[in-house]
Symmetry: C2
């Protein structure tokens, strides 16, 4: 009677520099049933990038046709030229195969996915404090103070969106943060809203 | 700036015979910051029962006065004679001291607690299937088939309330079920609705 359980769609956002990539990689290393979503893009492949693994590479014409057909969960048009988007079919297929799928996207994209996929689990990753975010931005030493200020202002705008997310993960110690993420996935699988237990019980008693 | 974090109020219900007590005991053994709520009752202490540990023993007059003063999160009047209730003050004090508090109560009591404490986490514990619940009731061998049928009908009424709970735990393997409960507690502590991160960040940037 029990069917294979669908995977969870996990949407991850957070200011740049808080370590989202590190956490996601650690999470995936420890859990073989979690996959990253593969985005479509109109930018050219870089050396070593593989179609269908790193990106689905599309011409602008192909990309726009996919937009018109509603084939993206969300997409953005950045730097005035290149498009990036999350193909709905790829995500749905992985979920149906029982994989949890991670989307690492910005807050605007996350809100669009929440609308399209109300069952998605939204996780906001951040540093222990705003001061810490500033220190990390300065510590990278790759940007002017003006750029740091701009990124910091963006980070603050992003943080204001936290109430729209389900969970907030403070990335202080990586192992602790990854453990929180794993606990959230385990807990979400126990949510009554995802459970078939009641309907199966009704069948079981013949009522 | 950070205050001590309040504990979580964990409400546990489920049909009799599904192993709620076993899971709760195992959970408490592994987590020193979890306490059972202590109920008040009008029944007489049994040998070895300690006031304030097993129960708060009250006369009927005292109990009714507490009811009138709104001092119970929920209470029931069973077998036409004895009262049992959950004193709000004891629970609140433990939560303020940072302890997670477990209330093991029936579905009606759980709904009352949810109203009084919308932040409570409601967990429904059950067996892998209705057939399994029946087998366990019969397997105890302590009841007539008529009593088994009655308990089974009650179990089915309880199971219909699952959508009112946040989580459902299938007690098949004890260790797995306890791990789910621990994951739920960890995940719930990461919920944005319980987080001060945004308000602290606003202070941190002086806005």
């Amino acid at each position: 009677m029990k069917e294979q359980r669908n995977g969870l769609l996990l949407v991850i956002s957070g200011p740049s520099g808080v370590g989202k990539g590190t956490l996601v990689n650690a999470l995936m290393e420890r859990n073989q049933k979690i996959k990253m979503s593969v985005s479509a893009t109109t930018r050219a492949p870089r050396p070593g990038e593989i179609e269908g693994v790193h990106y689905f590479f599309k011409t602008e014409e192909e990309f726009k046709a996919m937009v018109d057909r509603g084939e993206f969960l969300e997409y953005i048009h950045v730097f005035g030229s290149k498009y990036y988007g999350t193909p709905r079919s790829f995500v749905e297929q992985q979920l149906e195969n029982g994989y949890d799928v991670i989307l690492e996207i910005d807050v605007q994209g996350a809100m669009k996915v929440k609308q399209a996929f109300p069952d998605a689990v939204l996780m906001f990753i951040t540093a222990p404090s705003m001061s810490e975010i500033k220190s990390r931005l300065i510590g990278r030493g790759t940007e002017t103070m003006e750029q740091v200020e701009k990124r910091f202002a963006t980070a603050f705008e992003e943080i204001k969106m936290i109430p729209q997310y389900d969970y907030v993960i403070i990335n202080d110690v990586v192992d602790v943060a990854v453990h929180h993420m794993e606990a959230i996935l385990e807990a979400e699988r126990c949510r009554t809203s995802r459970s078939n237990y009641l309907s199966e019980s009704i069948e079981d008693t013949g009522r």
